[in-house]
Symmetry: C2
């Protein structure tokens, strides 16, 4: 059954470019600061941002049970906590209000002045207050590449990998929205051949191309979420750049996993594209290589999504260079399996929790999701258009990730997550 | 210089038992639900709980710049964010109001009725909303024991351990206060000699005896906290039981660290004892075995604390059995070094963040901080008073941890963190 807001034939009275990520079939959710310095929850159609707080005050959500201040918040957490029925009702209503056939708001100039913003009039914020951030490691190609480089090419995948959607806890305090720059981290590294570590700036700062899902409040302490119910609790997805300092990581990560190599920054795209909007783009995931335990076996709808992904590097004052083209469908473990695994021991999941996919590498070298893999530990540097080379990310480079689905003439996208790497922090 | 509230000669007009953890020199902070179903921030002297919200409304904090609702909160986060100057002014004032020589509140019966509660009239809550929870691994004895058991007795400590206060991110959603029971987790394990994992209840549920410090907002993204400034940002300490499922841990933890083996529950004691109250109990920490990098070298006051710790197991309907006696002073890396390390890469720290010490094992077998070490992987079961044996924790056992400092006749304690292990969760 098709969701009403996904009707491919609907057009909007707001202008939408042919290649826009944000047709009226998308209706993502985000948080922005307006020209009047007000924080509000909003959505976007084409290049127009829509203030949902104002729209609600003007009565456009009448008949949907919503608290008065549900959109006048600095995060989406409370709205997401209201559950899937509410998300759907709100998304459907927005589609109706901006439908070409509906002239109520279209013909109300004073309402439009309050509700609509050009993109240059707003500043996107972090869409959720992240309670807990978990990062998985669910691309077989990525895990194989890393295992080949650092362990044993003959046994690149560790014994648990084909049984467990391996994951670990990240740091939520350093999750930042697109546009916030990041300083090159300092830390301990062990130089090649040395016995004692040295202190200094990381020399191997890398991106990791990921997507992440954002949850609603799902379960109490002790209670697992069954794999086939998992999507009930997933609000939507964003692009995620899991910034990584490879030299710090190598020295610190045994035995408890990555820590300072990762927690200096994690960037996400500011518009959460709902799972509902992605529904038409479901595809089968990779076939299991080994039988999976019952709690990870799913049925019903396809649980993978065909989302084209790309990564660019833009040196200061120079052109963008696409360095990777991958796809979310390559993930060996899907988001339902990840959430079922995360809660099988009773771990509680709250509204606003962020769950990263892990680096999304595809089968071909052009589809690898990190510089570590693309340049094979720096052995094969990438040539940029300005004549320079990159093994990893240089100071003042901007890393830009984009993602979109496309099918039967409708394109649903995520916009971008763009982050500039600044030199090491200096105290003023 | 001695802090005013630490004056050992002060007595209170509230009754305090000789062996109480909570003399007027302690003045910890917590959050409780009162008999009238109101959540408030409070403190405790002897066995009397004190409603700081009510005390503030009645004017007892006049002259201290505090917002009206600073104590009428369901967490200490905002109060802690006010910073050390405020914590000290409030703690000093509480000491004055309850000083034997001060009769203002003592003689005001109607005020006392509003402000004071017996412990059986209140229900302790989680003291902070934990933004991020980090767990360190800072006891050399514990790391050595684990390395000896699972890797190589000749090289028990990994090469990075003497250079890095090793830590990893935990899950904040499953941090619970003393008194909340926990279900035995289910998950994947690899039976001895098997090639494929099985699913079922963990057979090796364990406690880990830890302490944890709680921070105030400390730094912006990118900015490290120098080791000698770290204590400025540490509000206080609690006891922490880092529940662990050893069989799940063994199968899942390579290469990204413990995940489901730990995130089913982490219990903490409900009263935060301030770093100020612990000031008289400072001691030298262990001498560094190897030189440490500059950012970890500290000066000034001693940075370790002499806190006696013990763990009891109480089977259902039976007596308590003390199974471990340890001390916080055994930590190789102190809390200042942990916080400096955590932020050296610019990772931001917020008010209410929780940072666990890692299992605190001492040099002798009786001082080991986990059943894994106490029974040496189950090879040497512990005999309990009721005639039963324990290799790990059984269903319906309660694990109780206690801690206190004592010097020159003054005892400052933490009370307890007590958690019952329930059988595997069953859906109703």
């Amino acid at each position: 059954m098709r969701l009403a807001a996904n009707n491919p034939d609907r057009t909007s009275w707001l202008h939408v470019d042919k290649n826009s990520d944000f047709p009226i079939q998308n209706i993502p959710f985000g948080v922005f600061l307006t020209r009047d310095d007000i924080i509000t929850i909003g959505t976007r159609i084409g290049d127009t941002a829509i203030d949902l707080g104002a729209l609600h005050q003007l009565g456009y959500f009448d008949g949907i049970p919503l608290t008065d201040d549900i959109f006048l918040q600095d995060s989406l957490n409370d709205f997401i906590a209201d559950g899937r029925k509410t998300w759907r009702a709100v998304r459907d209503r927005i589609a109706e209000v901006f439908d070409s056939k509906n002239t109520t708001l279209k013909n109300n100039k004073s309402h439009k002045e309050i509700v609509l913003f050009r993109l240059d009039e707003i500043e996107m914020q972090l869409p959720v207050e992240v309670g807990d951030y978990t990062d998985f490691y669910s691309s077989m190609e990525h895990a194989t590449n890393v295992g080949t480089m650092f362990r044993d090419p003959e046994n690149a995948l560790l014994p648990n990998w084909l049984h467990i959607p391996v994951g670990y806890h990240g740091r939520s305090s350093s999750v930042i929205p697109s546009g916030i720059p990041v300083h090159r981290p300092q830390g301990q590294t062990l130089p090649e051949g040395a016995i004692e570590p040295v202190f200094g700036p990381s020399k191997l700062v890398d991106f990791e191309l990921e997507m992440a899902f954002i949850t609603t409040a799902a379960n109490d302490l002790g209670e697992p979420i069954p794999v086939d119910e998992a999507e009930e609790y997933i609000f939507g997805l964003v692009l995620l750049n899991d910034w990584s300092a490879r030299d710090i990581q190598k020295w610190e990560y045994v035995p408890l996993g990555p820590f300072l190599a990762k927690n200096f920054a994690t960037s996400i795209s500011p518009w959460i594209v709902t799972l509902d909007a992605l529904d038409p783009y479901r595809v089968e995931g990779p076939k299991p290589v080994k039988p999976q335990l019952d709690y990870l076996k799913y049925s019903g709808k396809k649980k993978s999504f065909d989302i084209n992904l790309e990564v660019s590097i833009q040196p200061e004052g120079a052109k963008e260079n696409i360095v990777s083209k991958s796809n979310f469908k390559y993930m060996y473990w899907n988001i339902s399996q990840q959430l079922a695994h995360h809660t099988i021991n009773g771990c509680p999941v709250n509204s606003g929790d962020l769950m990263g996919s892990g680096t999304i590498s595809g089968p071909s070298p052009e589809s690898y999701g990190s510089m570590l893999e693309l340049t094979w530990k720096g052995e094969k540097p990438i040539k940029l258009k300005d004549g320079t080379e990159r093994k990893f990310i240089n100071d003042n480079d901007t890393v830009i990730m984009r993602g979109y689905c496309e099918k039967d003439g409708t394109r649903i996208g995520f916009g971008e997550v763009s982050t500039k790497l600044l030199p090491v922090f200096k105290k003023k």
